[in-house]
């Protein structure tokens, strides 16, 4: 990855953080706010495959942890696993399919929130399973499904061709997203 590639990816992540920390924190639905940072490992996994999904998930998770009062590193761990799982699950699929990003964002976001709460409970914070988990899963999953295509386009710009090398269908996916 060249410095220019890294700068583009950093800019994308920074943009997502800004939107999350400003607009999304004010937008509460049923007392729950959307979490678009979860979209980053998902779209990175779709576009770049398991390895890139895991790497970008880890990095964006660490950034998310900077702004959360929950255990430091928990978002990084779950986002890393999610990016890897999404990359692995979609590697053999047609990435140009219009339904892929919203459906994966819907399921991936739900998986993220449930895993986040479960791992938090394992790490000594049992109250994370006693919050309005169903509401959180529904709100985050649905909003991320709606925002999946714009996120794909932005991340496709941030992840250059060099960063998706080795992916069997990455050219088609990135091209379609662009």
């Amino acid at each position: 990855m060249t410095p220019r590639d890294a700068a583009r990816l950093t800019l994308v992540v920074f943009g997502f953080v800004v939107v999350q920390q400003t607009v999304m924190l004010d937008l509460r639905i049923g007392g729950v706010h959307p979490d678009i940072l979860v979209l980053l490992p998902i779209v990175a996994g779709i576009i770049g495959g398991p390895a890139r999904g895991a790497t970008i998930g880890f990095g964006t998770g660490l950034v998310a942890d900077l702004f959360l009062p929950t255990p430091f590193g928990l978002s990084a761990l779950v986002a890393c696993l999610l990016g890897f799982a999404v990359g692995l699950a979609t590697v053999a699929l047609d990435r140009t399919a219009w339904w892929l990003a919203p459906v994966v964002a819907l399921g991936g976001s739900a998986l993220y929130e449930i895993t986040y709460a479960a791992l938090g409970a394992v790490l000594g914070q049992p109250q994370m399973l006693h919050v309005a988990l169903v509401r959180i899963v529904v709100v985050v999953s649905v909003t991320n499904a709606v925002l999946a295509w714009p996120a794909m386009k932005v991340m496709a710009w941030g992840m250059t061709r060099s960063s998706t090398e080795g992916m069997p269908t990455s050219d088609a996916g990135v091209g379609a997203a662009r």
Partner: protein, 266 residues
Amino acid sequence: MLILILAAVTIITLDARGGLHVVTSGVRSAASDAFAPVRSGVNAVVEPIGSFLAGSVHYGAVREQNQKLQAEIDQLRMEQAAQAGQAQALKQLSALLHLPYLGNLQTVPAEVTDFGTSDFAATIDIDVGRADGVQLNMPVIGLGGLVGQVVIVSHHTATVRLITDGQSAVGVRYGPPPGSLAVLNGAGSGKPLSADLIPADTPLTDGEIFTTSGLQGALFPPGIPVARVTGSHTGSSASQESVTLQPLADLAHLRYVTVVLWGPSA
């Protein structure tokens, strides 16, 4: 992949065991400091958009509220709503600055800027930080009683963990002086507190007030009202009484709070 997972687990473990907590706390503080101007600038631009989106989501409620507000406009004009609002804010702040149970403890008034960045934790953000003398673990008081404790502090802002958060535990006294000791635990935002260490069949009345214990090394100074009893019972063969309590401060509608410049070693 394995390296990343191991790295994440290592970070979590070190942070939880305290070895890395100073570092992570410092990094969080630095990130908050660095991001504050960006957040402030972007908020000024996009807040109207956020409000519009929020309004769209709650269209029905907003419309109903709008109709009510329209009906109240004439009356509000007569009452000079703006002045009344300012007077009320001043009254709240004044009340916060003269809380009798704080004695001579130094305090810093603060405005609540946000109700939590995570749906998994009960926290609030306030507009004072290190520059105002605020430090980690300092108690935060609202009208009525204890609100929580500072858990993240940056230069000009701080995050407060509310007493309803599942990670919160407050040492308290109850009953006739000198009072018996117990621990109040949070169970999540909006949920009642529960009490630990209260022996079975202890006579408690609804409305009884629990105050901070102030034992040596305690996280809060003594005598701050925390919560009132809303229910208690002892199950058959239980060694402890099951007690639920309601925080005295209205945690869902906090506007101003007071940070007590106090630490266990002070």
